[in-house]
Subunit: 366 residues, 4 copies
Amino acid sequence: MSEISTQFEALNLNELEPLARGKLTQSAYDYYSSGAADEITVRRNQAAFSEISLRPRMLVDISNLQTSVSLFGQLVSMPILVAPMAFQAMAHAQGELATARAAAAANTVMICSTLSNYSIEEIAAVANGNLWFQLYVYKGREITRSLVRRAEAAGYKALVVTVDSPLLGRRERDVRNRFQLPKELRIANFEGEETLGQFPLNVRESGLHAYIAELYDRALTWKDLEWMVSITKLPVLVKGILRGDDAVRAIECGARGIIVSNHGGRQLDTAIATIEALPEVVEAAGAKAEILMDGGVRRGTDVLKALALGAKAVLLGRPILWGLAIAGPQGPAHVLQMLRGEFELAMALSGCPTLQSISDDLLVRK
Amino acid sequence: MSEISTQFEALNLNELEPLARGKLTQSAYDYYSSGAADEITVRRNQAAFSEISLRPRMLVDISNLQTSVSLFGQLVSMPILVAPMAFQAMAHAQGELATARAAAAANTVMICSTLSNYSIEEIAAVANGNLWFQLYVYKGREITRSLVRRAEAAGYKALVVTVDSPLLGRRERDVRNRFQLPKELRIANFEGEETLGQFPLNVRESGLHAYIAELYDRALTWKDLEWMVSITKLPVLVKGILRGDDAVRAIECGARGIIVSNHGGRQLDTAIATIEALPEVVEAAGAKAEILMDGGVRRGTDVLKALALGAKAVLLGRPILWGLAIAGPQGPAHVLQMLRGEFELAMALSGCPTLQSISDDLLVRK
Amino acid sequence: MSEISTQFEALNLNELEPLARGKLTQSAYDYYSSGAADEITVRRNQAAFSEISLRPRMLVDISNLQTSVSLFGQLVSMPILVAPMAFQAMAHAQGELATARAAAAANTVMICSTLSNYSIEEIAAVANGNLWFQLYVYKGREITRSLVRRAEAAGYKALVVTVDSPLLGRRERDVRNRFQLPKELRIANFEGEETLGQFPLNVRESGLHAYIAELYDRALTWKDLEWMVSITKLPVLVKGILRGDDAVRAIECGARGIIVSNHGGRQLDTAIATIEALPEVVEAAGAKAEILMDGGVRRGTDVLKALALGAKAVLLGRPILWGLAIAGPQGPAHVLQMLRGEFELAMALSGCPTLQSISDDLLVRK
Amino acid sequence: MSEISTQFEALNLNELEPLARGKLTQSAYDYYSSGAADEITVRRNQAAFSEISLRPRMLVDISNLQTSVSLFGQLVSMPILVAPMAFQAMAHAQGELATARAAAAANTVMICSTLSNYSIEEIAAVANGNLWFQLYVYKGREITRSLVRRAEAAGYKALVVTVDSPLLGRRERDVRNRFQLPKELRIANFEGEETLGQFPLNVRESGLHAYIAELYDRALTWKDLEWMVSITKLPVLVKGILRGDDAVRAIECGARGIIVSNHGGRQLDTAIATIEALPEVVEAAGAKAEILMDGGVRRGTDVLKALALGAKAVLLGRPILWGLAIAGPQGPAHVLQMLRGEFELAMALSGCPTLQSISDDLLVRK
């Protein structure tokens, strides 16, 4: 069993954020940490985990814990993946490269954002093939097709289509900061392209908001998802689903995975917490697709609860960036190790030696 | 789709109030902001919106949002109207004139209070016919009849009869301030009339309280509503309903619209939040009348939730006054534009391209 | 309709307590305000009222409110009585005499505590016959019989037997203060009697606690209640009931009234709030006895809610003492007038012109 | 009836902790007081008691309270036992000896931890036979067998097998302090044994964590429980059960008692509060075994509630240590006396003269 990493002054993932804040510009910290509007969903994602109580089982032999999980034929060492997050080089110059190396070392998957500071190919070069590619859908199918082809060519093993962002949520801290990407950083996948490769300048609000308002496809529908499935042999996951009926529809369009997500509370404020939405999605679609979730995962017991409610794995987001900001290239690996250790301890103390033994019978909800 | 206005330092409607407070006398601020007794209902109106979670739909084409709504044959550009509010010239000398111009510019309806600082006719002169008239019922039918005739003559398109105020609620901040209208301001609709045209002086409590205690008709019943319907061809809405049975009764008396309202928490403290009362009223009377609501609307998602629960439109109150106090005649238009932008974003991120597509299937209530 | 009194700087009953605190010794303030243990029930009594929402009725003629109520053949002007409270002369030298005069002036009932600083006869001399007598049951029936005879002779119209205090609750503030009656004050009903007439001295805890531990009858049962009913022709009310089955038993023993009470949170901490216990008692016994309640009543809407749940009247406690401390002999009358005014306003704004029209259809409980 | 002890400046058990904190090293205080991770379960154990309301019965003769209870043929004076707690000599040099003397004086049971600073035999020498022995199960059956034999030989009357700790919970305060046993203290039951007798030194985390990670048996199962039952004639209780099915299983393996416990919130954070888990265990197994509970008991009403939900007795933990730290060898007796007094008062004010009369009919849960 893994020890919980003690490489940080922080003893758990919650303690990372205040430390990271001191290492980041206000603008970068706000971009990473903020959510939409009153940030009710940001807080709710975490609080909803705390409101679930555990009923552990005793006297189960937990001397040999099994945590590896197979996703679309790819074996990963634990049900904790790295969520797609944009612009990681604001946290450290190595950015996505460091995160990819950490995921590879942990033998888990990193999902790379379309909006990365290193390109699809640069990241693939360091990551030993445990990458998935997250796709924002731009107006014009050629941009999408090109990104898919590049990801396939670089050896990415799945596509994650984000469907909750036809427009950017109103992140007021970014508006106040008139958020712009630092000058030295690139939207690497579109480097050199005039419109796609940089935020509009001289806008009164968030530059990212303006970029997305101009470029993303607001007319996206299920037919477009069908088309995306049709142009690749990679498994397609749909990220941003919060309803059972939408999950069923996604699968009918050919998706093989669903990521229950509210974009970390960054899109529609007062959206349901993901751990609250998960059971409905699992019930509707759990038999036909892999169900993953993200949002608010900070403790090993959170991972356990998500799995008990039917998730195959969870994605870890912001804490990875905090690790990067605090400890540089070593940070993300420490963060993954902290959560892995906590998760294994939660399994042990709940009497769950395998992932299969984690059932909703362990939970009491108020 | 509309941008959210950034004319203010405030980034949302909640941030307006503290800014406005610095621009107003204590007495005017307290009059506008306060509620009855412990102000439990004031706070509950807003909190009740936050307790409703959203289950957004994905992959709906939202490139072309439709927000206009027809009310009694009048097409308004969005389901957000201006609530009746008294004495707007305490916020800015242009008072109701500025608000009326803003509503007209936004192609929505302003509901003018009986207790305005500009007269029925003065407001009508600037507002292009998108006005409704809010009626307090005084003792003596001739006063009422006269107000109705003047509103009709000035081109107002509906009458809103407020039924929750046979007496004024106990607004303790007004009592403490011994609230009086500033000397330079008039009760414009009764200018020059000795009793009707001014508050009683030398009272130990709120002057408005004394005015209403002396003049309003405490014996008002459903028969009086029937009579009011009988004397006008304008559609009559009843404002201040919080029960399904009362809504049915109002319609039986000839009302064509119901405004679910607790007077912004200013009348009966611990009255039910309006968003909590709305479903009962819609179920009882939604098929037979237009149901509107006010109380606590501050976010685009609040509008979405009210519509999902069956409201045809919402009324926006205090934030309009805060805009007037902060930015003068331009303020109300900015406020309307902020909320319109947020509402459209909420539609987009919820997968609702039309008002008709907003259903209670979007909501989870705890 | 009554105006809400504005004789105080305080605008409502909640604002009285901090003002009174400045007028009282720490020991007296703590004795009056404190409750048992963690004071959870003290707070819960009030909070439970706030958690009930009102669904007011509109367009009811409220120009002529009826608030008088008949209790055991005695007509009182409003459903608000004065609760029994010990040692009122700690608040003002006139003590119970002032309170009795205020109750008489308001044409309501004062319930006099056994543990008063003026005697049964002294209070009766100023109160015009609107008095009930509250009885603590001492060891030895002769003490009880004597008190009953004196109350009868002095014209008291009902007996209130407190049954929740076979021992005193653990009021930790009194323990810390080693609470003793100020030297100049008497336990007037036992003046001159060595044991009954004073607290034990030199005890390490609350003197009242020691007094009661020594003198009250811990072996009291329903048979004793039967006996008390048998020795008087006055109606007997039982105070301190929190269960329907106990209420039924009391009536079987001859009681004609039940006072739902947890002794203002001063006896058993974490006891149920009285407004929460009331419906069970009304359902079990409301048809056979008058049900009253006390505990946490601070607002006119609280009175309305208690009546809506079946109480015939409420008792007002601590705020009377705060009034006495702040304004001397005039204080209790002002306090009664404040609450009467608020209650009438609550009736008016809820559409209830009579006490009979106040039903539980007005309420929503979470 | 017992008086509540006033030997302390503290008036109740909650007030002990801050006083004790001033007497202890940070490391010892943190070890005693802390829980796992965010300490949600630590707080929840106590809060869950407060959320249960009491419906007391009146007019029951409570002049002669019966509080003694028979456990496995041993009569104890009250349903309050001393929970097993490790390393009590950090609080006072007399440590477990003082606690054992206090339990003996109170005629109740002390459960001695395997990890004590005085040995099985030393404690037995001062305790008059009212001891049970708590057993941690080490790798290698001989260690266990030896401990059992020693406890039997020393006259301990029951064995308490702790099953919730195959690994130590993550107590972050101990990690931060790199918790080690003070140099002058011994793991007395293994004195002189190199591995068993001391914590590993030079570890980066809690020394106790490392000790347990190395020595405890993570492969423990129900078969091992059967074996333990088979090697002794003493009654065996299983401590750390939070589920009905586990309780049934334990009894099938020969256990005669169940202690519903989450280890004071020190093992699996967000585990269900014990008072919330108790009813399920009582329902499943109450007829076949003695059910005890610990966790969060601080008030006499807490004991009453646990008994009302079917516990035969409760265990008191941390407050005993606070008493030891504050008042030395006299402390534990005072603490037991405080809680006994409060419990008897709770019985009296609830109308429960005997333990048998305490039923769940007294409770209302939200």
